[in-house]
């Protein structure tokens, strides 16, 4: 046993191989670091440089980049700690919305991160073209909100969401195009130590995008990322920044009490529902925003289901008296109770109830409604999407069929709303805050199970509730929809059965 008795050497300062004492030589093409050959210098940023690299042993079949921090003689804690944070966090992330992590090297030799290279430009390139077509704004917003929700599910709050940190995977045959978040130097992971806690005296983030709570040093609320996305959507819609680009803390604090010019004032063809979504995302209090990325993506994909409030029709910023009132409250305001990504998502799920409203038996429909009601009562932050699927033939329909189809569609929607009426009543909807909590959707698809599974995936549904087909004969001939959903859905599925009389 290697043992030393008694006291340790008190007072010996801790030593690291500080960059200042080991100046790093400039990197050159052709150089090999830990088995990665530097091919081409891609980018020199304020904090880091990027190199295109390949694994010398050919073991990794992916385009790769190496990110190397820029060391300013060791006196720049921001870039060093940020890089340390990124090295700690990246290995824990996975999925399509982050670059795949490959390897890292520490500061004692050559600091670097090797990761998957995402082809193409960042969203920064599109910012100069703003205002963009509304459809493009919605598409970008949906994809970014979806990506953010995925990161939040992985217990991460990004905290530096802005166009230059957003890339898109290539679109192939209409598939792909997923948003990818990069640069986790300011991020906060619920399950890992926060190396940036206490590190800086000034709020951390990028001034135009920073949420009010970030200005107040809160670093764990996932809704901060939704605020930043709101800033981006505002900019992409109007061509202007909602809060400018302040360079002082005082300027940053303005967003705690001063609301932005409504987008429709700057762009007449901005639909009211989009103004509603953007202004809600920009609410100073996180509790008043959309509560999750999935909810924001859901609204962008279902504009007709967005409950329009005063925000949708607002034509000017708040008057002086209102602003002064808010200023007084903001002055002494401490950020509200802290939530973290894990808890915030857990209390704001989206439920999907698939109702075979035209065919299911009365008993089953009642049991289904009761089950959903119980789930909603235990989770006041939950949203419910009620879904009916209208079966159509795989081949195209003639005009007559189409007219018939359109009335069938409306009829299903009416039945679906009728089914949900007792539920909506028991939830005491709709008040302003509750509006939009229950939404209704009729899908037209040749295969019911596939339609439900796809819809749940696309809208990041947390939990599907559906009925089991009761009749044994029908089930035998048509197969069980619920069985297919249970086996193929990405989320939890509850299959409800009406109590059957004992045989």
């Amino acid at each position: 046993m290697a043992a030393e008795s008694g006291n340790t050497d008190a007072g010996v300062p801790f030593e690291v191989a500080a960059p200042a004492t080991h100046p790093l030589r400039p990197l050159q093409a052709g150089q090999v670091i830990d088995g990665f050959r530097l091919e081409r210098h891609l980018h020199q940023g304020g904090m880091a440089q990027l190199w295109q690299v390949v694994a010398e042993d050919g073991s990794i079949d992916l385009p790769l980049i190496m990110k190397v921090p820029r060391i300013l003689g060791g006196e720049d804690p921001a870039s060093i700690v940020g890089f340390e944070v990124e090295q700690m966090i990246m290995p824990s992330l996975s999925g399509v919305h982050v670059p795949r992590f490959i390897a890292k090297g520490d500061f004692t030799r050559q600091p670097y991160i090797v990761m998957e290279r995402i082809a193409g430009d960042s969203l920064r390139a599109r910012l100069d073209a703003a205002p963009l077509p509304i459809a493009e704004v919605v598409s970008i917003g949906t994809r970014v909100a979806t990506a953010l929700h995925d990161l939040h599910r992985q217990h991460l709050v990004h905290l530096d969401v802005k166009p230059s940190n957003i890339m898109f995977r290539p679109l192939v045959d209409g598939a792909g195009g997923d948003a990818v978040l990069v640069d986790f130097g300011l991020s906060r992971h619920d399950h890992l130590p926060d190396l940036l806690d206490e590190e800086f005296e000034l709020p951390m983030g990028t001034a135009p995008y920073m949420s009010p709570e970030q200005v107040q040093f809160v670093r764990n609320d996932p809704r901060s990322d939704l605020f930043a996305l709101g800033v981006m959507l505002y900019h992409l819609t109007t061509g202007e920044r909602p809060f400018g680009s302040p360079d002082s803390v005082r300027g940053l604090r303005e967003r705690l009490y001063r609301d932005p010019v409504p987008p429709r004032t700057l762009r007449i063809d901005c639909p009211p529902w989009l103004q509603e979504i953007i202004l809600q995302a920009l609410e100073p209090l996180p509790d008043k925003r959309q509560q999750t990325g999935a909810q924001l993506a859901f609204e962008l994909q279902n504009p007709d289901q967005v409950p329009l409030t005063e925000r949708a029709t607002r034509r000017s910023r708040s008057g002086t008296m209102k602003v002064i009132g808010r200023w007084f409250s903001a002055m002494g305001a401490e950020p509200t109770a802290r939530v973290d990504a894990t808890n915030q998502l857990a209390r704001s799920p989206i439920l999907l109830v698939a109702v075979d409203v035209a065919n299911a038996e009365r008993e089953l429909l009642d049991t289904l409604r009761l089950t959903v009601e119980r789930l909603l009562q235990t989770e006041p932050g939950a949203r419910l999407a009620c879904l009916a699927v209208m079966k159509i033939n795989r081949i195209g329909m003639d005009e007559l069929m189409e007219r018939d189809g359109s009335s069938k569609h409306v009829n299903l929607l009416v039945q679906l709303k009728h089914w949900a009426r007792p539920l909506v009543q028991s939830l005491k909807l709709p008040t302003d805050a509750q509006a939009g909590r229950v939404t209704f959707h009729v899908l037209e698809a040749p295969d019911t199970a596939t339609a439900i599974i796809d819809y749940a995936r696309k809208n990041q549904i947390d939990h599907i509730v559906m009925g089991a087909r009761s009749s044994g004969v029908l089930r035998r001939y048509l197969g069980s929809v619920s069985t297919q959903v249970v086996s193929q859905a990405d989320c939890s599925v509850t299959v409800v059965r009406a109590a059957a009389p004992q045989r």
Binding site: N7, G11, Q87, F107, E199
Partner: protein, 247 residues
Amino acid sequence: MKLALVTDLHANREAVEAVLAHAEAQGAEQHAFLGDFVGYGADPGWVVDCVREHVSRGAFAVKGNHDAAAVMGPQPTMVSDAREVVAWTHEQLKPDQLDFLASLPLTVIDDTRLFVHANAFAPPEWAYIHARSDAVQSMQATACRITFCGHVHEPRLYHLATTGKVGEFAPVPDVVIPLSPQRQWLVIPGSTGQPRDNNPAACYAMFDTQSAELTFHRIPYDHDTAAAKVRAAGLPERLAQRLQDGG
């Protein structure tokens, strides 16, 4: 190499067995026992033998305040429960077991790692690391990059940057935490034999010396049996109860 960090075993055989079995299943190749092998629990002899056997195979072990007390008698600073148990424990241990406890060092240094029971600034005085300031004082007192200590029963992770900024973290079980070489770390795995954070599951941590990755674990074990033994031994009821509620 995977290093299992086990501390504040407190004569709890059931907890120690469960933790060591889990560590073995995780591929532990080395062990460090950070003190307080006895006191509170009903199986001091078994736990001392277990630690001694591991030490004979190359494990690290340091002395805790309860180990010192079992040898020398209760200290005036000890709470009454502890004093009562110290006397009982002393009677249970054989001379060779007491000799082993007496022979334990206060600190062990292995490469850039320091093992100590209470803190690095004054190991024989047993001051607790309750707050960031205590952790800073401890990290500044050693040249080692990572300090592993016990004494405090709740799992915690502190870190100190070269800029002097300190951070504190309540770990989440089973999450891999890479310990950056850019800063100093102070790791408190949490007590195996007497957890006190309202969770009766035993604590320990695993550190991979190659990848510098640390993982805290919580291991449920048969705490009802351990508590029953405490009662059967005639030790204070409160000591049995806290094994069952983790309080």
